[in-house]
Amino acid sequence: MAKQHISFSLNGEQIDALVEPRELLVHTLRETLNLTGTHIGCETSHCGVCTVDLNGVSVKSCTVLAMQAHEGEVTTVEGLANGELHAVQQAFIEEHGLQCGFCTPGMLMRAQRLLQENPDPSEEEIRWGMAGNLCRCTGYQNIIKAVQSAAKKLQQEA
């Protein structure tokens, strides 16, 4: 199938790319645009490591076609830090919210979006809101703590 032209905003910058219709967004990000922060885990829409923002909501980029990002807005983990680390990134370091780090890009992307949807979530709401992201190492406790800590920091700043 002939490649097609798409154009979208990626971490605030306008991007053009040539993609095959069957190409998944995660592959375009990693292989064409060389942004390998977005990981591939299960490839079956279960683990959430491929989570990015598409048009202001969290999606699993292994289950969205690159064609569907056309004229849209994508944010990946590379777009989080703005000179200094984003509050969720800092909180994951301080609260030991990672061990091997493989799930972390997805966790960070989901956490920052969750805190925009619900700036002051209860523990229960964090667990429900992060349920699409799996971690094989941490047992989740410190991930929850990191999200709680980032929530506090973001609210103080607001």
Binding site: L24, H27, S45, H46, G48, T63, L65, W128, A131, G132
Partner: protein
């Protein structure tokens, strides 16, 4: 894992989508893509053309038509959860959507896709049976409506003809002296149902005037437990009757054994989910 090659189409309207669907050999609708794309990766589906409905605003949105709740087929699970109209007029659907998959999947997966896919593991079909919903369907010959009852014909097999698009789901109100119960057993957050049961009923005094029971993932398609409904209709429902109804629910089940459990376990769980849903529905109707 990537799907095999296909041509991608962005229709400009529902009419255009129907045209593309009918002009192209082996074309399929792409809604949220959270059932279709996984199947395409596994080569369980290999359409030559994908017609993406995501740009069509006319398929989005939730409105009231009289007292019927009308939900655009491309409405996502998270849009159902956030809708004030749905919270007010059919809170059952909010309960259901909250137990579908996870936040990311709920941002893409649509209620129309969940119904049209014909997967017995999907949650909305049995709920639509219990709600007595109606589907608005457009095809090359115009628009028609089909009741949920009779729509689910088998695994991945529904009343949708080739070349048709589901555009809207219409949900009649649950009467003031009515109630609902919804219980889904799952192994973990985000999983499909091991067994699920939805009950919608209406009381006349203490007697059950009308009742519909929809069952999830315990047969090749979503089904109604009609024998159990017939037993309860016209009766003052008590624990003894609930027990008899649970027996009839088990007789209606024909689940497939898989990692979620064997046939006996799933059958018993369908009965237990139904006991709970009947009790919940009675409690809501009485309050």
């Amino acid at each position: 894992m990537i799907p095999s090659g296909f041509e991608y189409h962005r229709p400009s309207s529902v009419q255009d989508a129907i045209r593309l669907l009918n002009e192209n050999e082996d074309a399929k609708i792409l809604a949220g893509g959270h059932s279709l794309l996984p199947m395409m990766k596994l080569r369980f589906a290999e359409p030559a053309h994908l017609i993406d409905l995501n740009g069509l605003a006319e398929l989005k949105g939730i409105r009231l038509d009289g007292d019927t709740l009308c939900i655009g087929a491309m409405t996502t699970e998270n849009e159902l959860i956030d809708s004030d109209l749905v919270k007010q007029h059919c809170p059952l659907l909010v309960d259901v959507a909250k137990l579908v998959a996870d936040p990311q999947v709920r941002n893409r997966g649509t209620v129309g896709g969940d119904v049209a896919h014909g997967d017995p593991g999907n949650d909305h079909p049995a709920v639509m049976l219990a709600l007595d919903a109606e589907f608005v369907i457009q095809g090359p010959d115009g628009e028609r409506r089909q009741a949920a009852n009779g729509f689910f014909l088998g695994t991945y097999w529904t009343g949708l003809e080739e070349g048709e698009v589901m555009t809207e789901i219409r949900i009649p109100p649950i009467p003031a002296n009515g109630g609902y119960g919804y219980n889904k057993l799952k192994r973990k957050t985000g999983d499909y149902a091991t067994a699920g049961s939805t009950v919608v009923l209406e009381l006349d005094g203490a007697s059950c005037k009308e009742i519909r029971i929809g069952l999830t993932n315990v047969a090749p398609m979503a089904i109604r437990a009609e024998a159990a409904e017939d037993l309860l209709r016209g009766q003052n429902i008590d624990e003894a009757l609930i027990e008899q109804a649970a027996e009839l629910v088990m007789q209606a089940c024909d689940p497939a054994e898989d990692l979620r459990g064997d046939i006996q376990y799933k059958t018993h769980m369908a009965a237990e989910m139904t006991r709970r849903s009947i009790r919940d529905a009675l409690a809501r109707a009485g309050s």
